[in-house]
Symmetry: D2
Subunit: 402 residues, 4 copies
């Protein structure tokens, strides 16, 4: 790999996760921070040829108008996470990236998301026109920044769920729907994915939205020699679940019930206050216990928005389990994490892994990234450690690549 740049295209480029990822990347490039929280910086991935931080260049789509640096500043002020000093050190780079952020799209993204939009979005685009516009934005960035490859990552707010039945199974059928704004069931996240994958760019769906998570778009990806993966970044409570549930399974302790109560106050939480959007999220958080345990315990996941908590999420998990002689026992966990801080480094990690996969000639779903997701496409293994071994094993296959 020569020294040509690799592009990172963020959908939702001014949101909490994106802002944090961008500030973090600039700080890494300027060597202002350590590589803490970055999976790709672990010793086992040090020598496999991942793209260095210095070679990454960022741009993206966004539906909100306010300056990127202001968004970052607000994150700093409201949540006491990023220091105001760090943001001023990164200011010139933030402003330069801001210039490269283009207006996004809100087709079928639901009213909670639509209510946030204040950029100029062409009013009567068909899905196909929107895709072409978005793809042109990406291609312009590739050309102007002379990028060797582009990795598109969706870190926008969660859309309402889409009924799988309403989607045609093949790309040919799907393609035909793109000219019919009234009957095209695809949400914004999928149109972004089509824009990226149809052009051969890699695509990562960090959200629970549909994105490329249907057979037709996967078919498009494979046809375009593109690779993709998702969905829903595993950053907090579900990560913990995928770590703890195997312990109960391997010790044959019977989980009677598993209750998770999540409280937080960032924009993601606010969007989740809309029950339609919340449903996609809760479904994605609740479903991993059955496959890990081999049976379905009583299980409840609730999410509540509390503005005062800002980006800090507290998750209380109460696990009631049965031991030898049927004796009931309890494990409780309290996770106090900062959502953006947990998610942002994984975005950067996956950009590096996806870019290496591209060089290694990978096409289609990148199942070796399963450990990063709550609902990994095409993978029924939900035990975190076994998923992580999939990544380690993929990494070891280093060899002569084009």
């Amino acid at each position: 790999m020569e020294n040509s740049k690799i592009g990172v295209w963020l959908i939702g480029a001014k949101g909490g996760v994106a802002s944090t990822a961008i500030v973090g990347l600039i700080a890494l490039q300027k060597r202002l921070i350590a590589e803490c929280g970055l999976v790709s910086a672990l010793p086992q991935f040090r020598d496999i040829g991942l793209v260095p931080w210095e070679q990454l260049a960022v741009a993206g789509h966004e539906i909100r108008r306010s300056p990127l640096a202001d968004e970052a500043q607000k994150l700093a002020a409201d949540n006491r996470i990023i220091s105001a000093e760090l943001i001023s050190q990164c200011r010139p780079e933030l402003d330069a990236i801001d210039q490269r952020i283009r207006p996004g799209m809100i087709l079928n993204a639901g009213p909670a998301i639509a209510a946030l939009a204040d950029v100029d979005i062409p009013p009567s685009e068909t899905p196909r026109q929107a895709i072409e516009r978005l793809r042109k934005d990406m291609a312009d960035f590739v050309q102007s920044a002379r990028l060797a490859h582009l990795v598109v990552v969706n870190v926008a707010s969660t859309e309402p769920g889409v009924a799988a039945k309403s989607l045609p199974p093949t790309w040919a059928e799907t393609d035909r729907l793109l000219d019919d704004p009234q009957n095209c069931p695809l949400p914004a996240s999928s149109l972004y994915a089509i824009a990226a994958l149809g052009a051969g760019y890699s695509h990562i769906n960090f959200t629970p939205s549909l994105g490329a998570g249907c057979p037709a778009i996967d078919e498009l990806a494979r046809h375009s020699n593109a690779s993709h993966y998702g969905c829903d970044g595993k950053t907090g409570e579900t990560l913990l679940k995928s770590v703890l549930a195997p312990m109960f399974a391997h010790r044959n302790l019977g989980v009677l019930s598993w209750v998770g109560h999540n409280i937080f106050g960032n924009m993601d939480a606010k969007v989740l206050s809309d029950p339609a959007n919340k449903q996609s999220k809760v479904a994605s958080k609740g479903h991993i216990l059955g496959p890990i345990l081999g049976y379905q315990p009583n299980s409840l996941v609730s999410i509540e928005y509390l503005s005062d908590l800002g980006d800090w999420k507290t998750a209380w998990d109460h696990i009631h389990f049965s031991g030898f002689l049927g004796v009931p026992m309890t494990l409780q966990c309290i996770w106090q994490g900062c959502d953006s801080i947990l998610a942002a480094p994984l975005v950067l990690d996956m950009v590096r892994f996806a870019e290496l996969a591209h060089r290694r000639g990978h096409v289609g779903q990148m199942t070796f990234l399963a450990s990063f997701f709550k609902s990994p496409y095409g993978v029924s293994e939900h035990r975190f450690d076994r998923q992580f071994q999939m990544l380690e094993q993929w990494a070891e296959k280093k060899g002569p690549f084009p």
Copy 2:
């Protein structure tokens, strides 16, 4: 394997773990309870030829006089764990086992343990005489019950630690010390181990005491074609540590400090009130973070005896960790488990695995049992899931055994 019986010889046969294991085994044999909490009952171990519950017969050594059924009853009354009804259903079998329990030994077991002893122990035995007496007890059981094999499990209270330097490295040198009560540094747990291993029986050290955990006794085991393993059953807080620490490691989250505070009130806790005995325990609990994380975080483990808690142990763990951009976050866990209930099934599991290993011709340390122990002999892998895979992989190697 024919229908001949397999013997389970418990050292500390009337303690909480032993009483629970015995009641549980009888209940399993009478099909009064499900196999909940038993690792060896998991699907992946179902068809590898483990000895069925019905073929296990129990006896053991003990230094306290009170009837076994009374000890079990007390456990039921004080801790609301075993139902009084279950104990009366198992009464005849409990009384029969009681008849087979022989007086144990307290050489170098420390004053806290010595204070508990009220059986008749020959007053001026040399270590060698004690070993011969213990071994004869075991052999008598093998003969009278026509056992195909005997597995000896140490579930006695924790002894004060023994300085490794004071121990001779070879069996030949060690053997010479056995006639010299004044200068023999070996504690009771090791003399029991010598009695068992020298006779070719399998030996499991469920405690943090020395047992067979030194080169000289391992040499004796190998010389006698016997197999053994330990030490210190991993049942609660340390189990959790070995499950959670890999998550921090694999996500490159920097553990700043890990504090564990344990409170409980059973006899084990009382013995641990003696600072000498406590030291062995705390050392065994604290040391796994470094190997898993690759660095040593601030780490504190404390254990407190509170009589009112009985056999119920509550462990509070507070993990302070650093994420991306150096943001500090926190995970807290509260484990409320019943010590005997967590430990007892593992004793039964390891008897079955050790017996199968014996049939498979295994000699020396049974490293595939690492997942059961806080301080697994000869294994530097402390990640629970990876340890568990060692057991799964060993199990799969089923084939024609003698």
Copy 3:
């Protein structure tokens, strides 16, 4: 006070709270247990002339057919709280009380409660006929057991809420509705209260249901020289709230948000799974913060039914508060209590206090009982300690009473 008996009439006489109160009372009378958990047994109430346990006699109404002793037994078996041995020691008395339990009523009690009913309830009673039937049951008990007074306590399941606007403000208007089953908005709990108060008996509403909690029925009580109080026994999370919130108030710490998440699995919880019934409960739990703090913080209370938890309720409270210089801090509480065990003694306490109030000539609302309730009638003081002082001060007014 002579040695004549005092009657305790329980509405919902076979429910968890009632069964526990009855077993406990018998055990107190037979001196099988200590007075732990009983407020009326505190030193400050020892010499004020409360009726001794021996003089209490129990009967009641119930809509379920199964024997009282079986209900108690089930409580013992499912929740490991009452020992099976204690229940057999109390068996003869339990059976005698069972003979005195009469069929209750389900008018306007909602479908979740109606679904539980399996006793023979006269099918086409008007409210007035029901009241007369219930009152006759009570009077028969007073006569046959030669009682000096009767205290009626509602410990039935929570009914759906009743809109205050639908209720006439005076007794005269209310009285007229009793002949019109179609248009009478009064729920079962209120008809029971009318039956009791109209006959001059004391009435305690331990539930969030309406009961005597409206001006018209209070008017009836005062007119009949009867005294009453409610509502919704303060036993767990709300008790804690009324203890902790004053600390924040008195230290001028600004509560930003207070989240309470309750999980439990008894019949009360099951009935609360019906959203209509749940609403009355949540409203009663959430409203005390404003009056104590002087402002309304973000506040959420959720209740979830998990069958495996039985009568054990775990409440997690997360309090986010702001200190000096606006620094946000956190207090979390985890309450693991057994609902029936917490509620039952308060029922017995209030019977004693209400009976003494009757002897002291009290009429109308017994506001000195405010500390026992989540929503104390006519009292705006919600700080637990100040409420408790109201009880202490009332108690001290001992003197010559009729």
Copy 4:
């Protein structure tokens, strides 16, 4: 009260509590912050004539040399509590106060504290000479700033405990010891108190150190018409204990055990790592349960220093209690507070209350301040709410004072 200034003399003037109190006071004077966390700002104390923030002037003693603003900055940087921006806004005032801070003293303060000292302290002072020097510093401030009164507050690190038996009971005897450095048992905290009280200044002992907490120095105070109070500010876990224990008492729930485990990492914690200093602290935290409950439950308090936690203290409390029918239940609390932020406003509050008491003619112990202290002098009431009522009642006695 005219507009003359009131002096605040802080012993340990650059420590965490003092720095926070000073920054906070300046911010209050400049109206940069709200009065959150300040007890004296509650409505019930608004009109009793407390000195306004604008009239307070600060100076003090300290044994460390580094600039006050640097100490504040470090607090901001290490603990994310005070914003760097706020500190720069207060910089000129901080520097002015710094000029008024004089070298303190370390006689009998123990080696852990002595190790921190780097200012020039006269090397061979007798206790009397030290007192005279300290008193002159205070008097110079009174004169130069034309103060109407001075309130001296000890917020220095905790000294090792002093055996009560070693202290003479009268001032006359004590006075005689002051010329004998070898045999004078009085620690630094007491010499500071003598310096203040002998000059008629008010004295508040916010620490567990001896200070004025012995009969002889109280005698001196009364003789000098001075008032004083202490000891050991009640800011976190013990505050919670004094709030929660009354609930158990008033509900007659039997506390079986109460375990408190505290972890934090500020300089106070570091000094407490010295077992001698720790002992004074633990003793002060553990003793309130007995008086509140009327019996002594199993009780353990532990404190651990973990540098990574900085000024943030997490306290885990586990309360095991017995309810009706002897059923054991549990309450757990997790308190995550910032020590300096919790303590600093109480220092400012007590300055105001003590100054008003001085104007009201109060002499001797100010028992109405009991709610602020873990070990309130001369008060056996440890229930927080009852203590707070003592303050409310004292406040109401407003009237014409000299």
